[in-house]
């Protein structure tokens, strides 16, 4: 295991998890992180109650999803010299404002930590087996991939050989 990589059922406290991660990696001069939270507005409304009619559901496929996250973590460890890595991803139903994903990378200096977080997020969005649906006033709707996700992923393609 290249670090702590987990699927999380139910809310988690990103500030506490990040503080714990930083404390575990005192040798690292840099801890970079990304927190994704359920957007209020175009994904779901601002109500904090699923029964109000607004929510986001993240579904996964047990045999593939966590293994694909671990493979991604291993790739990040291979590309950058990281002293630690944390990937927490929610599954299940969540409301606006709740954390969905927390990624953190620790390294001796800032550049590898920042770049590895960026790499992990682009790949979590388009390479890991998650499906999202949103509950709106008209019912549940599946969220389809965006062109931007493909463009973001293309940034990391190995340079073409001439």
């Amino acid at each position: 295991m290249p670090g702590e990589i987990a699927l999380v059922v139910g809310a988690f406290d990103p500030a506490a998890r990040l503080a714990g991660f930083a404390a575990e990696h005192r040798d690292a001069g840099a801890v970079a992180s990304f927190l994704g939270q359920v957007r209020c507005g175009d994904d779901v409304g601002c109500g904090d109650d699923v029964d109000d009619g607004q929510a986001l559901e993240l579904l996964h496929y047990e045999p593939l999803t966590l293994p694909s996250m671990i493979a991604l973590g291993e790739e990040a460890q291979k590309r950058w010299k990281l002293s630690g890595l944390l990937i927490l991803h929610r599954i299940g139903i969540m409301c606006a404002g709740e954390p969905i994903v927390l990624v953190a990378c620790a390294a001796r200096h800032r550049r590898p930590a920042l770049t590895a977080v960026d790499f992990l997020m682009d790949h979590l969005k388009s390479r890991v087996w998650f499906w999202k649906r949103e509950k709106t006033a008209t019912g549940w709707q599946w969220i389809e991939p965006r062109e931007q996700d493909r463009t973001d992923l293309a940034r990391w393609a190995p340079a073409a050989h001439s």
Binding site: W129, W131, K132
Partner: protein, 80 residues
């Protein structure tokens, strides 16, 4: 033989449920199984952007299936 089918993402709606256990005649591949289902569902399952997993490993549509196997149909992931 009996095979468990798992429909992920939008395919759950197309199938009317997340999972289905069906009886199939051997020998069968994933494409044969899809073709034995309702025509609309078959079309949704065999769309170009759908991937397949057999017992948790990604495979091609012509991969043969055995008794007790789990076949998952995976549409593109949702992205950000």
């Amino acid at each position: 033989m009996e095979v468990t089918l798992v429909f992920l993402g939008r395919l759950e709606d197309a199938a009317g449920g997340a999972q289905r256990i069906i009886a199939v005649e051997p020998p069968s591949c994933i494409a044969n199984i899809a073709q034995s289902l309702e025509p609309d569902l078959c079309a949704a399952l065999l769309k170009e952007d759908v991937r397949f997993a057999l017992n948790g490993a990604l495979v091609q549509r012509h991969c043969s299936v055995s008794d007790g196997d789990e076949v998952a149909f995976l549409p593109p992931v949702s992205g950000g």
